[in-house]
C-alpha cells in the first residue's frame, strides 16, 4: 500500500512540475527580433582598423597569415612614399576562417581585429571572400589611441630618429666616450 501511495505522490509531483511550467513566460531570445548585444571581445567578422590619424595600421608583416591555422589570410606587402609598409592587397576567405582570433593575437600593430558582428553569411559563395576594401574600417577598433609608428622606432618621413613617443634623442657616441 505504501508503495502505491509513493507512486501516486511522485507521479503527481512530476505532473505538477510540468503544469507549473505551462504558466511561466518563455525566456527564449527570439533571434531576428531581438539581437543580444555580444561582449566586445567575442570573435566574429574580421576588420582592418586605422590608426588615430586615419592611416592604415596594417604593415603587411605576414604574421597573421603565418599564424592562421586554416590559411585563410593572404596579402601582398608594399611600401608607400612615406617609407611606411602597407598591404597592396589583403584577402580573407571567410569560408575557411574558424574565428580562432590567432591573427589578432599575432598582429603587432593591432590592425587586424575580430568584431562581435557575426551576421555576414551570404548565399553567394564568392561574396564570402573579403578583399581589403571590404575589410578596412575607418576607426581604431578596440584600442583607438594606439599608433604603431609612434612607438616602433622605425624611421619614416613622419617620425625621424628620436621623434617617436617616449624615445630619447639619439646619443652622440663621441661625447659619450670616457
Amino acid at each position: 500500500m505504501n508503495v502505491l501511495i509513493d507512486i501516486v505522490v511522485s507521479l503527481a509531483q512530476g505532473f505538477y512540475t510540468t503544469a507549473k511550467h505551462l504558466f511561466r513566460k518563455p525566456f527564449t531570445e527570439e533571434y531576428p527580433e531581438y539581437k543580444r548585444p555580444l561582449p566586445e571581445r567575442s570573435r566574429a567578422r574580421i576588420v582592418l582598423t586605422r590608426d588615430p590619424d586615419g592611416r592604415e595600421r596594417c604593415v603587411a608583416c605576414y604574421l597573421c597569415s603565418g599564424v592562421c591555422p586554416v590559411n585563410c589570410i593572404s596579402m601582398q606587402a608594399a611600401e608607400d612614399d612615406h617609407g611606411r609598409r602597407y598591404a597592396a592587397w589583403f584577402r580573407i576567405n571567410f569560408g575557411r576562417c574558424i574565428y580562432c582570433g590567432l591573427c589578432e593575437e599575432a598582429c603587432p600593430t593591432s590592425a587586424i581585429q575580430l568584431t562581435p558582428e557575426f551576421e555576414h553569411i551570404t548565399r553567394d559563395i564568392l561574396k564570402i571572400v573579403y578583399e581589403k576594401e571590404d575589410l578596412l574600417v575607418d576607426h581604431g577598433g578596440k584600442d583607438p589611441d594606439y599608433d604603431f609608428y609612434q612607438h616602433a622606432g622605425v624611421v619614416t618621413k613622419l617620425y625621424g630618429k628620436g621623434e617617436h613617443a617616449a624615445e630619447q634623442p639619439p646619443v652622440n657616441t663621441r661625447t659619450n666616450m670616457p
Binding site: 510540468t18 503544469a19 511550467h21 518563455p26 525566456f27 527564449t28
Partner: protein, 331 residues
C-alpha cells in the same frame, strides 16, 4: 429508389464532413502539441509561419509533399507502399461508429449523427485497432532493415499486449450499458458519465490507449536512441507523413472513444452535442500531451510488465467486481 439516393447522399455528406474535420484536427493537433510542448519546456514553440504559427501545419504538409520519396532496392515494394496506408486508414475508419450527437430531423427525415450505428460497434473498433498492428509490423518488415524490423516487432508485441487490456477495460462499460453499440453506450450515460462509476477502467483504458497509439511514454517502437526511428526508419516524404497522420488520428480516435465510453460522449449542458464531443477529444489529447511532457520512456520489460502484470489483472478484477455489483443490485 429516390429514398435510397437521398440516403446515400446524406451518408456521403456525413462521411466527407467527418473526414474533413478529423484531418484538419489532426493537422492542428500537431501544432497544438508542438506549442504545448514548447510551453511546458518554457519556450514559445513554433511561431514563425503566420500569427502564433497558425499556418505551420500547412507549411509542414507542403514540406512533406515536396520532399523526396525514397525507397531503397531491398524493400518489399507492394507492402512498403501499403503499410502506411493501413495505419492511416484503420485509424480513420474507426470514426465510422462514433456518435457525434443526438438524432436530428432534416426535411422531415430523421438523420442519426453517426455514420453507421452497428450493433457490435465496440468489436468493430477493436477489430480495426488490431488491424493497425499490421501497418506497423509490415512496415518494419518490408523496409528490409534491422532497426525497422526490430521496431516493427516491438510495435506488434506492444500493441497486441495492450489490445487485451484495452478490450478488458471496456467490458464493465458494456456490462453497465448492456449493449455493444456505441450509440447505446452514450445514451446509457444520460445522467452519469461512466468515469464516476468506473474510474479504474478509465485509468486502464487511458494507459492502454496511449500504448496503442504509441504515445510517449510508450513510444518504444520508435525509440530513436536505440532504433533510429523504429518501424518508419526507411520511410520519407508523404509516406512517413501517413504514419504521422495515423498517429494523430489515432490520438483523436482514442479521445473520441474515451469520451464515448467514460466521459458521456456528446452529452453536456448548453452547447450542442458535436461541440461537446470535440471538447472532450481535445481535453483527452491535451492530457496525452501533458503526459508526454512529463514522463520519460519506459524500458521494454517495464512496458510488458505493466501491461501483463498490472493492467490485465486489474481489468479482470474490475470485471469481477462490476459483475458482482450488477448481480447484487438486480436481484
Amino acid at each position: 429508389m429516390w429514398v435510397w439516393l437521398v440516403g446515400y447522399g446524406i451518408l456521403i455528406a456525413k462521411i466527407s464532413l467527418v473526414l474533413t474535420v478529423v484531418l484538419l484536427l489532426a493537422a492542428y493537433l500537431v501544432l497544438v502539441e508542438r506549442k504545448l510542448l514548447g510551453r511546458f519546456q518554457v519556450r514559445p514553440g513554433p511561431n514563425r509561419v503566420g500569427i502564433f504559427g497558425i499556418l505551420q501545419p500547412i507549411a509542414d504538409s507542403i514540406k512533406l509533399i515536396l520532399k523526396e520519396d525514397v525507397m531503397h532496392d531491398g524493400a518489399e515494394r507492394v507492402i512498403f507502399h501499403l503499410a502506411p496506408v493501413i495505419v492511416a486508414v484503420t485509424a480513420l475508419m474507426m470514426f465510422a461508429v462514433v456518435p457525434f450527437g443526438p438524432e436530428i430531423t432534416l426535411f422531415g427525415r430523421k438523420v442519426p449523427m453517426v455514420i453507421s450505428d452497428i450493433n457490435v460497434g465496440v468489436l468493430y473498433v477493436f477489430a480495426l485497432s488490431s488491424l493497425s498492428v499490421y501497418g506497423v509490423a509490415l512496415g518494419g518488415w518490408a523496409s528490409n532493415s534491422k532497426f525497422a524490423l526490430l521496431g516493427g516487432i516491438r510495435g506488434a508485441a506492444q500493441m497486441i499486449s495492450y489490445e487485451l487490456a484495452l478490450g478488458l477495460s471496456i467490458i464493465p462499460v458494456v456490462m453497465l450499458a448492456g449493449s455493444f453499440s456505441l450509440v447505446d453506450i452514450v445514451s446509457a450515460q444520460d445522467e452519469l458519465p461512466f468515469i464516476l462509476v468506473q474510474p479504474l477502467a478509465f485509468v486502464i483504458f487511458l494507459l492502454s490507449a496511449m500504448a496503442e497509439s504509441k504515445r510517449i511514454p510508450f513510444d518504444l517502437p520508435e525509440a530513436e536512441t536505440e532504433l533510429g526511428a523504429g518501424y518508419h526508419t526507411e520511410y520519407s516524404g508523404m509516406r512517413f507523413g501517413l504514419f504521422f497522420l495515423g498517429e494523430y488520428v489515432h490520438m483523436q480516435v482514442m479521445g473520441a472513444l474515451m469520451a464515448v465510453f467514460f466521459l458521456g460522449g456528446w452529452h453536456g449542458p448548453i452547447l450542442p452535442g458535436p461541440i461537446w464531443l470535440l471538447i472532450k477529444i481535445i481535453i483527452v489529447s491535451v492530457v496525452m500531451i501533458w503526459v508526454r511532457a512529463t514522463l520519460p520512456r519506459l524500458r521494454y520489460d517495464q512496458l510488458m510488465e505493466l501491461g501483463w502484470k498490472v493492467l490485465i489483472p486489474a481489468a479482470l478484477i474490475n470485471i469481477l467486481i462490476t459483475g458482482a455489483f450488477i448481480v447484487g443490485f438486480s436481484s
